[in-house]
Symmetry: C2
């Protein structure tokens, strides 16, 4: 067996969700595909590591300081959506239904994983709220709907207690196209709890 | 959104079985993981393309001429296992139950995909049978158990009709740990047809 191939299979197998079999399949593909396609992938990985850093304002990933969302003058500057990770920004942007700014926490409160308030960018968020002009009117906390995500949302709400900023939380309930029949009890309970008048 | 990231997601999305969502997840992982891990993956892809070629004897992938299987003096040199692709060699070697040599056809007969006898290495196989010393006694045709794989096996059997080489075919039947209940009709029919005395 070729050592280069074994090495690539090992490297690919370290990626999340890629087991040994998939790694093998991908490696054989990279062996058989046009040279340009394989080289481009290798090059893209290198460029990503060379060019990308975190926006010092919002924590989004970017190649320029500040990132294109912070720079975009057409976006609403009075609303900030708080997310756990930069990948969450991508998901929200894809939905096309949000035109404000973002703030990346860099994770969520999780004592078991050693994530306390000091590990997340709460301080930077508070500073941003104090110094931003125009003033930030609303924080939409879009941490994930888990115990940790909810705790993180609560922490932010308490941190800003007494300030003039409205703190809101994204809705929990049935996903579009979901079936009640297949939904877990907690989701159904939250969907009922979060009902609104028609 | 970062251009480097978009480029990497596009490159990853071209891999087989990797959709846009998985590509995104992998790209974010490559952004967050230790620098060394990402660089190593990129480097491995480059090395694979630089170092690996096809063994001129058997068609296996290799970094040396001939490949380590062709070179291994402890292997049986009178039995050759015929496979479609180099990845099949890897699967058989992992099983640890074969100690002979290999011959890679480079595909299977499939008129619909434009694969005729001239596209596969039948000529090289025949030449190998005529010139190999010690003589090749048996060809085990291990093309996949599909219509095309079976047709390819039949072609080889007819090609060597009248020669002294025994042509055999790997067994078809229920996979180990399989359940009759969930098996398709063709597999069951082949398992019955291929029954042997106990």
């Amino acid at each position: 067996m070729s050592r280069s191939l074994e090495k690539l299979i090992k490297s690919l197998g370290r990626l999340p969700g890629i087991g040994e079999k998939t790694a093998g399949r991908l490696a054989y593909h990279l062996l058989k595909c046009p040279d340009e396609q394989a080289r481009q992938l290798a090059e893209s990985i290198g460029q990503l590591r060379d060019n990308v850093f975190f926006c010092p304002r919002c924590g989004n990933i970017t190649e320029e300081d500040p990132c294109d969302i912070c720079r975009d003058e057409r976006r609403e500057r009075t609303v900030v959506c708080v997310v756990e990770e930069p990948s969450d920004i991508r998901a929200i942007e894809t939905s096309g239904s949000y035109r404000g700014l973002y703030h990346v926490l860099g994770g969520r409160l999780s004592p078991l994983e050693g994530m306390g308030p000091d590990e997340l960018s709460f301080g930077k968020l508070q500073q941003r709220i104090e110094t931003s002009r125009p003033r930030i009117n609303e924080l939409i906390v879009a941490t994930n709907p888990s115990v940790e995500g909810d705790a993180t949302a609560l922490y932010i709400q308490q941190m800003l207690n007494g300030s003039q900023v409205r703190v809101s939380r994204i809705a929990c309930g049935l996903p579009a196209g979901g079936h009640l029949e297949y939904m877990d009890a907690l989701t159904i309970s939250q969907a009922l709890h979060g009902r609104h008048n028609l």
